[in-house]
């Protein structure tokens, strides 16, 4: 796992390089951040040939650490212009690790779409003419049939080929469902590079080496036992991430009607609990599903239609919030249909959901009109003008339609948590190095931390700063963030995880390891953004969050700008 694979698409050449010593302790987001920072001019055109697309396995990838198979995808973002890392589950990161690589760097651009196949014996460049113009589901089916059931596939659909700014990158699960590195328009960059798919086959590869297997075994057991003891995990397994719907609705912070309300009358209809009832009645549906090997939570799900045909696996809270409550749509089947279309075309459901809602605000379709929304999402893949508009995300759509209330930071749609009631999350939206993104530090209340008031006007910056560093470390280790929520409430689990990493790399790590690692990652990212021309003026929420109160609670976002700026001050 101490090598880098460098692929030049212009020249159709590949080179295997030793991992530089300075990168040895880096994986996942930490590694993509460093490579982008070292190799990509911060002011370059994100869709131009100077930009690079980096796929990196986390530092724990391929080991027995649970939930450690997230694949980090990094670049200068076509959506935000900032540095960007978006990660997804699936089987690919573990295959990259088993193939002996820490990262795959994609440079240049192919004139015609190509598929790149990587296995133990080498790298092949093949024409993707037969795949071009097809959605991810077909692409995956064709490549799986051609290359066998042991491969992992990274691909883009039509959205990436059209270079739409909400275009995502698809990553297959072991059973060939679709996971998505959704945010930041990285699919558009893959499209601009002419890379339709990467196929990774780790057949015949050795296991990933571990310095101290016995120590790892002990630490993994302690970590896993602790994670599974946390009350959140059972809920996630039973109801998936949409368990958050009723929780957020109860708090008055579920994003509703383009961020103009904090509660949704139809919340129960789109809740995780209701989804579980539907799934229980449908053939072939499953309430719980693992998106990667080694997942101990299995919060994904398999959602089928009444006849038992697969629709999507799985439906997540962000999709339900942005395409559901935010659009006043209370129909899970309609949301699932849009989710499937987005997975097929290769799109971020969040920016697309946000775009649908601003289009509703503009009168392009009626609030809550699920059929019209499904139709409009279908148009994205067809490349109609209004489809392209929606597929370019919430900012582009809002500007196209003259909407002044556009819920974005640095061009990226906010997530499903209203920042007026969750102000620590609001600080994260404003100041994260990659635009509005809850995965950078979602400051939800916790029974284990009764002293934290998520609606307080001050004291949020330290919370956000801590979480931004913590999750930057998590993303660098390649671990799913849900496995890392329990350690927030049970700090001893953090030390079990540090022991896991120490056992893998074979050196002692301090008790501050996670925050030091994450803090360094955020600093590298921030420096890139500074050089790209971003300033504290960009670290702000849209005005309307400060001037329009949530009707149910009267809350506004009133964290002082000085406090926002303090996140990156030290």
């Amino acid at each position: 796992m101490h090598r880098i694979l460098r692929i030049n698409l212009t020249e159709r050449q590949a080179a295997i390089e030793p991992l530089p010593a300075t990168y040895r302790s880096l994986g996942g987001r930490g590694l993509t951040a460093r490579i982008i920072s070292d190799e990509v001019p911060p002011t370059c055109d994100p869709l131009g040939t100077q930009n690079k697309l980096v796929f990196a396995a986390g530092l724990c990838a391929g080991t027995s650490v649970p939930n450690s198979g997230r694949l980090s995808v990094g670049a200068k973002s076509p959506l935000t212009g900032t540095i960007k890392e978006s990660n997804a589950g699936g089987s690919v990161a573990q295959k990259i690790a088993r193939l002996g690589f820490r990262a795959v760097i994609v440079e240049g651009a192919a004139k015609e779409p190509v598929t790149v196949k990587i296995d133990r014996d080498g790298i092949r460049f093949e024409s993707a003419a037969a795949l071009a113009g097809r959605g991810n589901y077909q692409v995956i089916e064709l490549l799986k049939n051609e290359c066998g059931p042991g491969v992992g596939i990274v691909s883009i659909g039509q959205a990436g080929e059209m270079r739409l700014k909400a275009a995502a990158i698809s990553v297959t699960t072991p059973d060939f469902h679709v996971r998505v590195a959704a945010r930041g328009g990285l699919g558009a960059l893959m499209g601009a590079k002419g890379l339709k798919a990467l196929v990774l086959d780790d057949a015949g590869c050795e296991a990933v080496p571990v310095a101290d297997p016995e120590r790892l075994k002990v630490a993994v057991q302690a970590f896993t036992r602790g994670v599974l003891s946390h009350p959140l995990i059972g809920g996630l397994k039973a109801f998936g991430t949409p368990i958050l719907v009723n929780m957020m609705d109860a708090m008055g912070t579920i994003v509703t009607k383009n961020y103009s309300q904090g509660r949704f009358a139809g919340a129960e209809q789109i809740s995780g609990e209701h989804m579980a009832e539907i799934v229980a009645q449908r053939p072939n549906a499953k309430p719980s599903h693992a998106c990667m090997r080694g997942c101990v939570i299995q919060c994904s799900n398999i959602y089928t239609d009444p006849a038992g045909e697969l629709v999507v696996a799985g439906i997540e809270y962000e999709t339900v919030a942005l395409m559901g409550s935010n659009c006043l749509i209370d129909d899970l089947d309609a949301i699932a249909a849009m989710n499937r279309a987005c997975n097929d075309f290769g799109l971020d459901t969040m920016d697309v959901g946000g775009a649908l809602a601003v289009a509703m605000e503009a009168g392009l379709l009626a609030w809550g009109d699920a059929a019209a929304a499904v139709q409009l999402v279908a148009e994205i893949g067809a490349g109609s003008e209004r489809g392209r508009m929606i597929g370019n995300g919430v900012k582009h759509t809002g500007e196209a339609l003259g909407v002044t209330r556009i819920p974005h930071v640095k061009g990226q749609c906010l997530s499903g948590y209203d920042p007026r009631g969750l102000k620590g999350t609001g600080v994260t939206y404003a100041t994260a190095t990659m635009g509005a993104d809850h995965t950078c530090g979602n400051a939800l209340p916790s029974p284990a931390n009764p002293g934290y008031d998520p609606a307080a006007s001050s004291g949020q910056a330290p919370v956000s700063q801590f979480l931004q560093r913590y999750f930057a470390a998590v993303d660098s280790l390649g671990i799913c963030l849900f496995a890392m929520v329990p350690p927030l409430d049970m700090p001893e689990l953090q030390q079990h995880l540090v022991a896991c990493v120490a056992a893998i790399v074979g050196e002692e790590l301090g008790s501050d390891y996670l925050l030091e690692l994450g803090g360094a990652v955020v600093k590298v990212e921030k420096a890139f953004n500074d050089a790209a021309g971003f300033t504290s003026a960009d670290d702000r929420l849209p005005d309307f969050f400060s001037t329009e109160a949530l009707p149910e609670t009267g809350q506004i976002f009133d964290v002082a700008t000085d406090e926002l700026d303090s996140v990156h001050a030290d």
Copy 2:
């Protein structure tokens, strides 16, 4: 002329305030820059209620100084996010001055469209329900019939009402043709404020006071005589600004096929010389026309169809270049039709022309397909999705269609001069305080200055810096830039103009007056942009100008970034 009129549209209130002492020496762009800088938060949403729209008369408005009736319109730009001033001829600035105002500040936003009428007796707010949804030509006709032939009208068409980012503001000439404050999307802000039209009637007003009328008379004569002696003036009068078509084509710097060529095979067909031939044959057409009282150049024209029906007055070089050569369209009648549609809907022909060309590059319509382009421009007013896309300008359209070669700086389309052959102009595009804008300092070669090489890779920053300051002063005095090109070659005319200003304000002014005035204006604007979050990283041309050579000359834009940054260094 020592008062400010402040209009609050939320409250439907108006207040007349004395001009603050610190503003006494400011007019036009200098005054809008100061008011925006003093009153508008740099990071506010440009379409939100914190932004203000300022109309200012130049310091010489209403006096006998020739060509001094330009109206400055200032705000934080909805297109670029920078501070913005866009100016136009017409009769309104002179009426503002005669009504005793230096500026009109529009604040807040009306819930329903309003017309504001200003005359000697006061200010009236009236519903614009009967005007809403109509184009400028109908709006002007209705208001002229209602208010009489002595009024001046500022209005927006459908584009401003839709808040499209290329929306412009229309200003009437004394004979009720349309002039346009075109750039920066200021029409979108007027639309967001619900202000459909301003009607100004200066009947019964006194002449604008002048401190030393006799001195002014002498200085005006000397200035005017000098301007008229310059060889450019005769050409402008005979052929209009499209006289530049053949000049730029000969130099290999006419923007062609979305800035991929520097010469256009159809240049002769769209040249000023050919336009003069057409105009000579058509009833009611005129090769020369004054857009304001006191114009000694009359470079506008009246372009009619073969039956003698008015199409547009007048056709300008930038329109011909962006909608003609840049789209490979060689048909002046088609260009005139698009020009009329843009004037009617209230749109910047430059950003719309740039958008058409990127749409051609994306394959949405064929290169040079004039009929399809005319049809597409017509759709903007109808508000179709593709129409809105084009009406949002070149950057938005390029992003919508996945085009990577987008000729913009800070979101605004470049003008009709290719920066690879005119590198001083390229420096201006990159560093001007309001995005790519030739009027901020177009560094054309001149026979009077044979030592200047516009294609040299270095030494361009001082030229651009000088011109940016010089024209910032010109815009502050309210003088048409064409009257100020001769004084570039004949510096003694600059002193005659300084004498004019001194006679008007009644104080002695130093010989460095123009550059000191302009330098201070640019500094205020730059400081606003800095506070809004812009950095030197934003002061760059798109990558492709540095990597793709013009095929005819092999030129690339290769001015060093250090040199670009030196423009604002002192």
